[in-house]
Amino acid sequence: MMEIDVRRAGGGRHPGVWFDAVMTIAAEEEMPRAKRRSSLIRSPQFSSLVILIVLLAVFAIADANFLSPLNISNMMAFLPELGIIALGMTLLLTAGEFDLSVGAVFGLAPVVVMLLVQNGGVDIGVALLAGLLLCIAIGAINGLIVTKIGISSFLVTLSMLLVVRGAALYITQGFPLKSWDQPGFFVTLLAGSFSIGTFRFYTSLWWFIGLSLLAIYVLRYAKLGNWISAIGSNRNAAVARGVPADAVKIWLFILTSVLAGLAGMISAFRISAASPVAGTGYELEVIAMVVVGGTALTGGRGTILGTIVGALILRSIRNGIVLIGVPGLAYNIFVGVIILAMLILHALLQKNAARS
């Protein structure tokens, strides 16, 4: 999966249309206009945006192809797959938990669905429903163990990663499935493509945009968002106010797991194949996106806008450094170093903003 990812990785320019829509929503801050500007500049997603713009400029100057329609189209094909998981992870992190099993779920869900259809002769709709229930079950088990037994989400979801990945390897005997040759409604729904001028986009981009808007609404404007932030900020305080903290966390684990499965399906349909090792290492990349975007790893402070920016940053780094000719094997060194530099820059910008 990662190899395909590297070869076809796309550029990181933010597409004007939906970004404007998102920014309009963000502008409706819950404070008077005068204070809005300064608080926007101080917000963590703003420094992420600065970093993204700098990054795009550097890559665009270094290689003219970076902003070509083909490269942007490629990039937009990959962005939603990790981006969708990152939305769930942002909400979960804001509530003070995280999920390391998402990469494994990303791999297992399509393997199960496609096996059911190819070997079991099950209808695709029924198979997808089975995949959905599987993801719900995985999320629910994560959530129940974390909240009811009180084991840290790091340990619980790390174990779940092994169980889920192991299951995917066992049921496939370690081999990728034979390629998927059944176009149909669900394939079009999840991985169809359409063209706007010279740009080619996948329907997954709409999924990402729609889910992003929903997540922004929930975290910022809904009663549930208030609860999520409060739980991550001070769980005891939230519980003392009658907030059902455990139930909220369990549902967020389920949501994250379902989104990981959805992203896995999108990816598998797009490349017409399911592999038991798909999504290896995605959990850390997704967490990096969320944290680079400005969400606190310790909970309480989450930003979906930041996560979208973070997803764009990681995507453009992966794409840009390939374009400018970093050798394949040295590739992860660069990604790691750049992410680290991002985080340091982030911390410095934040510190400056706080001082002024």
Binding site: A222, K223, W227, S233, N236, A238, R301
Partner: protein, 258 residues
Amino acid sequence: MEVLRLQNLQKSFGSVRALKSASFTLNEGEVVALLGDNGAGKSTLIKAISGVFPVDRGDIYVRGQKVSIRSTRDAMDLGIETIHQDTSLAPDLSIARNLFLGREPVNLKWLGVFAPLDLAQLRDAASALLKRVGISKKLDADALVSTLSGGERQSIAISRAMQFAAKVIILDEPTNNLGVEETHGVLRFVKEVRDAGHSVLLITHNIHHVFQVADRIIVMRRGEIVAEQTVADTDLLTVESIITGADMSALLKETRAK
């Protein structure tokens, strides 16, 4: 008039009898201080009243009505608000959002937890409340709680309890970790709360604070209430000797002789 009455509350954790038997009455517009050494059963008692866990035996009456408190929500709905030390507010949320946490004003109520917050009402109500409690000059309803001092946080937490017209406000060590000035601010605030007609149950280690604000003192020792006195009828040393259980009569006589 009686607001809260506890009758023979008992609670054990395994073989430990944390609360052997507790009965007392709290009246309207009264500050009652609950004193006792560590392990005396104070927190067990207030946790039982605020719905953190159910009692094994005994009855709770609110305004003469027998009630059953099974959750913190039940307690809040009965007008019992508890302010725990350091755990009452979410630091990453604004003052306004904290004030309404768990009771958010929303539009489109049928959306349940997905209902949008009524931000205008949230802010207006928060500002009005801050003004009423006299801290509007310094504080902005949109400021994050993490930017506030300890005393300001206690004031916000107490205001929140007042706002929901709580009959009984339980303060758990409200002056812990506060500076001298802030402590006086909080104690003054407690008096204002009482004058506004609320009843306050004050849990504290600091006997000096008790004598500044309380009307009545209840002392617990080893899971039992061992003394109940009005502040006017007692003095610091007597109370101290009851708390520790030590015989301080000699010292007492000596002081009184002076």
